[in-house]
Amino acid sequence: MIILVPSWFFGFDSAMYILSAAIAFLVSFNALKLYNITSKKSHFYLHASFAVLGMGLLTLGITTLLTLSTSSASVFDDGAAWADDFGFWIYYASSLFAYGLLAVMYLPEKLKFPIFLPFWSIGFPYFQILSIFILSYVIFKSAANYALNRNSNALLVMLAFALMGAYHLLSLFTSQNPFVYVVAQISLLSGFVSLLVMLTRVNKIER
């Protein structure tokens, strides 16, 4: 599948992936503190999912940056194209695994089971569709949590997952118009910024 990217946007997407990865690692670190105190499996899944997601996004950010720096303005050489493909494949696999962990985290204790993702899911349209499918469940659970608690942090988490879902949905249409790619990237970064705002609120010192 062809992904249309506006030339002026080259580099910005890499920066967005790296920034998103940094925020994912921050969430993972905070969830690790939670797990260290509670030793609950669901808290470990939260920590692991964001760590895996962060690694995938960081790999993608670095490889797209490498591709950009080693290719001429209009032509990708073989090495650069390989690095780009490698980055995307790592990202596909790690984010699917991370979303799977998030879904398992929200499953009731008695229903928790290991998720085996079909191999064929690691292809572009399948990846996006499966991501949307898994994230729909995660968004539903975070929306239910917001409806129950009515607190701003829960709203920010729900918004973050919804924006991540929107990123995958928009990514399905990146072959139609280059601008869709830009909106999709902004949607992904906004989702992670929403998580950063939530973390800032959570870690605010109060008496």
Partner: protein
């Protein structure tokens, strides 16, 4: 709704009570934390052994929070908020 409190949340509740009051008698902890006497005693012993509270003798015993306990309450509050935000109970 009857929700069984975890040991962690009981300890955090006791610490918050002791911290907010600036010092609390065991009978007040018993009522405000909604605990039976043996359970309260067990939890207070754990908190004293961990260095989170200290017993001060005066007109009877009063429990006061230590610096370590104060820091722990702040950490617990943060992780409680994180766990609430994601909807994964502690």
């Amino acid at each position: 709704m009857n929700v069984k409190r975890s040991r962690l949340s009981i300890l955090a509740d006791i610490l918050k009570l002791v911290r907010d009051s600036g010092g609390m008698k065991p009978t007040h902890i018993l009522y405000k934390a909604n605990l039976s006497h043996p359970r309260m005693k067990k939890h207070l012993t754990m908190l004293i052994e961990g260095g989170f509270i200290e017993a001060v003798e005066g007109k009877g015993i009063v429990y006061r929070i230590t610096k370590k306990g104060d820091k722990f309450v702040s950490e617990i509050r943060k992780i409680e908020k994180l766990s609430e935000a994601f909807g994964v109970p502690m």
